[in-house]
C-alpha cells in the first residue's frame, strides 16, 4: 500500500498555511518520484500545532508541526514517510498532551479521517448509531437520547430528548429537522470543525432525529462566513444520498429522510432559532414570540426540531454506545462532554473536548498555557458576545451550566475568549452594546434603541462626563434590556456589559479620578 500523508484541509489549518504545505509536499514527492497518498483530513483542533502533518507508519501515526512549506524539503530528507525524526517531530499525535488529555466522543473521528470518505467513517465506528436507531421504535430512540442527559449545545441547554418528544407527539403531515449551524459567537468553531472534519456524523445525527420524531426532511442552515464548511457539507450530503444513507429508504429501512444545505446571509440574530426559521422561509430574520413552540409550529408552520450542530452530532455515539456511556461523563445536570473552544489571546488555543466540570482556571492556565502574549490574563469571556467577562477571582468556577449561571454568566456554545492585561473593559462593554445595536432584529424597543443609548452612555463615561450618573444609567438600562427583550440578544447583552462593570470597575473610571476600587 502507498504510504499515507495527512494534511488538514480544515479552514483553521488553511488559515495557517496548510494549502501551501500540501502543494509543497506533493511537488517534492513528485520531483523525487516517491509515491504516496495525500489525504486532506480535518483538524484535531490543536491549532497551535497547525498545520500538523501526519504519516501512517507501521507503528502507527507520527505527527509533525507546525509545518511551513519551507520545512518540507528537510522533512522529506529526514524520512517523513517512515516517521523519521525531525526538529518538528511530535511523535504519536494521540500522545500530545493537549490531545491525550481529552475525552473525544463527539469529535472521535475529527482530524483523523478523510471527511468525505464514507468508508473511513464506517471503519471508525460511523453509522453504528443509525443502524441501531432504524431497528428501534421512535419512542425508544427519544427515550435513549433523553436518558443520556444531552442538553442543547447551542446555548440554552434545553434537554434534547424532551424537545424531540414534543415533536414526536405532535401529529402533522410533514415535520422538519433543522440544524442550527449559524455559529455566530466569537470564540467558537466547534460546529465548523465538525462540518469540515466529520460531516457524516452530523448527517447521521440529523437522520436519527428524523427517525425519532417522524420528520422526513432536514435543513442545515450554515452561516455564509463558513464557505469551506458549506462546500464539505454539500458534498457529504450528496455522498450520503448516493450511498442510501439518505433517501426514501434510509439504510434500506422503511424510514425516509433527506436534507438540504442552506446558507445564511450574515445576520447574527438568525442564530436565534425562530429567526432562523423565518430566514429559511425566505423572510427577514425576525424573532418570533413563543408560544407556539417550533416543536408545535416551526418551519412553514410544521412541527420542527431545531438543534445545534454539536447536539445533533453527539447523538450517534449515544445511540451506538448507550445513554449510560454518555451520561457517565460530566457533573451535576451537565452530562457528557463539551467541546471547549479556547480562543483569543491564548498560548495553546484550540478545541478541547472534555467532560463537564473542569474549572475555568484549569482550562486557561493548565490546558491553554496562559496568554499568547505572555502577559497576565485579565479577563475571559465565556459564551460568545452575550456571555459574561470573568476575572481571575472567578477562575474556580467549574464548567457547568448551573455553576456559570450562579456566577451571573453562561457557558453558551462553550467559546472561551482570553484577554491579557492590555484589554480595556469599558471598550469591551461598549462593543457589546454596539454589536447588539447592529444585530438587533428590531422587534423590541429595549434592544433596538436601548443598545444605542448604551453606546452613547458609555461614550460619555469614557469622556469623563458625570461618570457616576452614567454608571447608574447603564445599570438601569441593562435592567430594562434584561427584562424587556423577547430574545437573548437584547436580554443577555447586559451580561458582558454588567460583568465588565462589576468585575473591572477601575476601567470604568475616567483617568484623572483616582478613587479606590470597590
Amino acid at each position: 500500500m502507498k504510504p499515507r500523508i495527512y494534511i488538514p484541509g480544515d479552514s483553521g489549518a488553511l488559515a495557517l498555511g496548510a494549502e501551501k504545505v500540501a502543494k509543497a509536499i506533493a511537488a517534492e514527492l513528485a520531483e523525487r518520484g516517491i509515491e504516496a497518498k495525500i489525504v486532506r483530513n480535518g483538524s484535531r483542533g490543536a491549532y497551535f500545532l497547525e498545520p500538523m502533518v501526519e504519516v501512517e507508519t507501521e507503528s502507527g501515526r507520527v505527527a509533525y508541526g507546525p509545518v511551513k512549506s519551507s520545512d518540507v524539503k528537510s522533512l522529506i530528507d529526514s524520512g517523513l514517510l517512515t516517521g523519521g525524526s525531525h526538529r518538528l517531530s511530535l511523535g504519536d499525535p494521540e500522545a500530545i498532551p493537549f490531545i491525550a488529555r481529552q475525552t473525544r466522543l463527539t469529535f472521535a473521528r475529527c482530524g483523523i479521517i478523510d471527511p468525505l470518505s464514507l468508508e473511513a467513517y464506517e471503519h471508525h465506528g460511523g453509522l453504528a448509531g443509525l443502524r441501531k436507531a432504524v431497528a428501534m421504535t421512535p419512542a425508544d430512540v427519544v427515550a435513549q437520547v433523553t436518558e443520556s442527559g444531552l442538553r442543547g449545545r447551542g446555548g440554552a441547554g434545553f434537554p434534547t430528548g424532551i424537545k424531540w418528544k414534543t415533536v414526536l407527539d405532535t401529529n402533522a403531515d410533514r415535520k422538519y429537522i433543522v440544524c442550527n449551524a449559524d455559529e455566530g459567537d466569537s470564540g467558537t468553531f466547534a460546529d465548523r470543525m465538525i462540518m469540515e472534519g466529520d460531516p457524516f456524523v452530523l448527517i447521521e445525527g440529523m437522520t436519527i432525529a428524523g427517525i425519532a420524531t417522524g420528520a422526513t426532511k432536514g435543513f442545515i442552515y450554515i452561516r455564509s462566513e463558513y464557505p469551506h464548511a458549506v462546500a464539505v457539507m454539500r458534498k457529504a450530503v450528496e455522498i450520503a444520498r448516493k450511498a442510501g444513507v439518505l433517501g426514501i429508504h434510509v439504510l434500506g429501512s422503511p424510514n425516509t429522510f433527506d436534507m438540504e444545505v442552506r446558507v445564511g446571509a450574515g445576520a447574527y440574530v438568525c442564530g436565534e432559532e425562530t429567526a432562523l426559521l423565518d430566514s429559511l422561509e425566505g423572510k427577514r430574520g425576525m424573532v418570533r414570540a413563543k408560544p407556539p413552540l417550533p416543536a408545535h409550529k416551526g418551519l412553514f408552520g410544521k412541527p420542527t426540531v431545531i438543534n445545534n450542530v454539536i447536539s445533533l452530532a453527539s447523538v450517534p455515539i449515544i445511540m451506538d454506545k448507550g445513554a449510560a456511556h454518555y451520561k457517565d461523563f460530566g457533573m451535576g445536570r451537565s452530562r457528557g462532554t463539551i467541546p471547549l473552544q479556547i480562543a483569543g489571546n491564548i498560548r495553546y488555543g484550540g478545541l478541547f473536548e472534555t467532560a463537564f466540570g473542569l474549572t475555568l482556571g484549569e482550562i486557561i492556565d493548565d490546558i491553554g498555557g496562559g496568554s499568547a502574549t505572555g502577559r497576565p490574563v485579565k479577563a475571559v469571556q465565556v459564551g460568545g458576545p452575550l456571555g459574561a467577562y470573568f476575572p481571575r477571582d472567578l477562575f474556580d468556577t467549574p464548567f457547568d451550566y448551573e455553576a456559570f449561571a450562579a456566577k451571573d454568566g453562561l457557558i453558551g456554545h462553550a467559546g472561551i475568549v482570553v484577554f491579557d492585561d492590555s484589554a480595556d473593559m469599558l471598550k469591551m462593554a461598549r462593543f457589546a452594546m454596539e454589536f447588539c445595536a447592529v444585530e438587533s432584529c428590531g422587534k423590541c424597543t429595549p434592544c433596538r434603541i436601548g443598545s444605542t443609548r448604551g453606546v452613547e452612555t458609555l461614550d460619555r463615561l469614557s469622556a469623563g462626563i458625570e461618570p457616576q450618573k452614567q454608571v447608574a444609567l447603564i445599570t438601569d438600562l441593562c435592567n430594562t434590556m434584561k427584562f424587556g427583550s423577547l430574545c437573548a440578544l437584547g436580554g443577555f447583552t447586559p451580561y458582558p456589559v454588567m460583568s465588565a462593570l462589576t468585575h473591572f470597575p477601575e476601567d470604568f473610571k475616567p483617568a484623572p479620578v483616582a478613587e479606590a476600587a470597590e
Partner: protein, 159 residues
Amino acid sequence: MALQPASTEIAAQAASIIDGMKDLEGPLLPILHGIQEEFGFVPQEVLPVIASKLNLSRAEVYGVVSFYHDYRKHPTGRHVLKLCQAESCQSMGSDAVAARLKQALGIDFHQTTTDGAVTLEPVYCLGLCACSPAALLDGEVIGRIDAEKVDEIIAEVRS
C-alpha cells in the same frame, strides 16, 4: 469584475437564476445568493423580477435584501477583504490590523479603493478564533495576521 450588462440583460440573467431555484422550499435566500454570486451584488433591477416570479410584493423583497448584511447594493472591487473585528480577534490586536490596512489602502470599512482594487468589510467571526486575528480575502482564509501578513495582503490586493 465583469463589465456591467444592460438592465434588460440583468433581468434576463436573473430570471434564469430564479427559475432554477423557485421550486425550492423557501427559495428567496438561495435566489439572492445566486444573484449576488452572478453579479457581485444585488442589482435593483432584479427585485421586481424576483417579486413577480415568487408572487411577493416588491417591498417584501426589498425588506429581505436590506435586512441581511451580506447582500450588497453596489459592485465591489476586484478583491474583497473581510477583516474579523469580533472579540477574539480584538484580543489579539485586530483593531491595529484594521487601522493599518485602512491607512495603507486609504479607505474605511464598507468602501472600495478608487482604483477598484479592493473593498474592505468588517466581519464578525470567521470561526478562526484560535488563529486570531483572522481575515477572509476572496474566500481564502488568513490567520494570525501580523505586520508581515498585512504587507502580503496589501501586495496581493494591489497586484
